[in-house]
Amino acid sequence: MNIAGSLQLGLIYSLLALGVFITFRVMNIPDLTADGSFTLGLAVSAVFCISGHPFAGLAAGTLCGAAAGIVTAFLQTKAGIHPILAGILTMTGLYSVNLAVMGGSPNLSLIGVSTVFSVFQAAFPGLERNIARLCLTFFLAASSAAALIWFFKTGLGLRVRAAGNNEKMVRASSINADAIRLAALAIANAFIGLAGAALAQYQGYADINSGAGIVIVGLASVILGEILPRGRTTAFVIICAALGSVIYRLLIAIVLYLNFFPAYMLRLVSALIVALALASPKARAFLRDRRARKKAPLC
């Protein structure tokens, strides 16, 4: 079982979980842009690496993710398109954009190309390869979580939280609710773009289909993080969302190691986990109702 690899992947995907957390949990908007913005980050990062700029690749992946989020926000607010459809539209359009970025080829290899990982490894030749990769992915995840925790303490962050919590109130206040939605979607997809950008360099290739169903992966991670003991502070909730992604990867590693099912079943299992978790409040209410009805005297 490759625990180190799972930790590394979990830390990279924790950026995706943070992005999904912002839209689904804080803003309460189902944003499906992620499938496209993740691959966009991946593609842009790979292209930058090939041209010799791995660090700029991470930055560019982040910015392109943000741009994708802005497009979705624009469709939702100014064009008045349903949030889910707006996300699907952006995602669909991005498929072509991503292929264009990759020069029309469905995959790019980064073998022999320098990435942030190889640069880091070269800077610390004494570190074992797995430890070096773990350090770098941990740094990426921790600094992103810290940035998000800080963001939610700022005035803008507070407005984003309020907009997700009581949009009616925000609309009647002096806050421009559309601008807040734009900021939230941009920041969420920036994190998702960065996740893709880091993944491309980590795995050494970019594939046009990497983003398919990635929203569910992110959502499953966020939900797994919510199983952890609940705290009230925003900082705690954010850290849990990031940790959820690590738990998700470890679970996958365990399941694959025990050979419960072939690897291609993973998406189905992820979808089931999310469906069950989202259905649980309703299921609990149903069971409570039934118990109450059984106890009630017949009349």
Partner: protein
Amino acid sequence: MLSIRNVRKTFEAGTAGAHTVLDGVSLHLEPAEFVTIIGSNGAGKSTLFAVIAGSVFPDEGSIILDGRDISREKEHQRARGIGRLFQDPRHGTAPGLTIEENLALVYSRASGRFPLSLALRSADRSLFRQVLSRLDMGLEDRLKTPVGSLSGGQRQALTLLIATLVPPKLLLLDEHTAALDPVTAKKVLNLTRDITAAHGITTLMITHNISSALEMGTRTIMMNKGRLVMDLRGGERAGLSVEDLLARYKTTVHENLDSDKILLDVEKA
């Protein structure tokens, strides 16, 4: 302070369901004036507020606040100068945010801080404690309590405090005590009186309670079918009882002031 000039609004204009909700309303408020508004359901009171606040655009007419024509401004732009309270106490605060975060939401913005700087500083907390203590509800010791766990009265008092933390040019109160129990309603009304008087805030208050319409403020207007039908102030208003007002309503619009709710309010009063 506020001038409403010949405002008209017809919903679903051009269809069989067209109904004129505001039929040429003109109103002028002096600075620091506190005006109560009464009228039957559907008289256009809430639509008048929506037109002033910008959530509904009028077909005709203009709104001038503090010498500036705000008729074309968007809701959130106008909200810088206009505070609003609604009947539902859940409307004015974010339940998942704590008391201090709800206050900081408005205060950090009003004090002109950069949006990406810290919203809640320790100096803010002592200010919040001080203003909250004026409510006399013990909220100053519960800064970290989520607003969702407060009672309706506490939430409405907090909303009033937030709306006036930085005194607005105009305060719109749309039956803001109607959902509260009588004791709490009284308390919130007293707070309203104290806060608006202390800052000299120009205020419009819709109420279904005729006695508070006469007790609060200095002027009472009555709306019916999208028009202002009565405008009472000064000596004419001073000696008026609830019964007198109902009688005057009857002679003015040739029907009884509607709804069991008003009758109940009269009995309670």
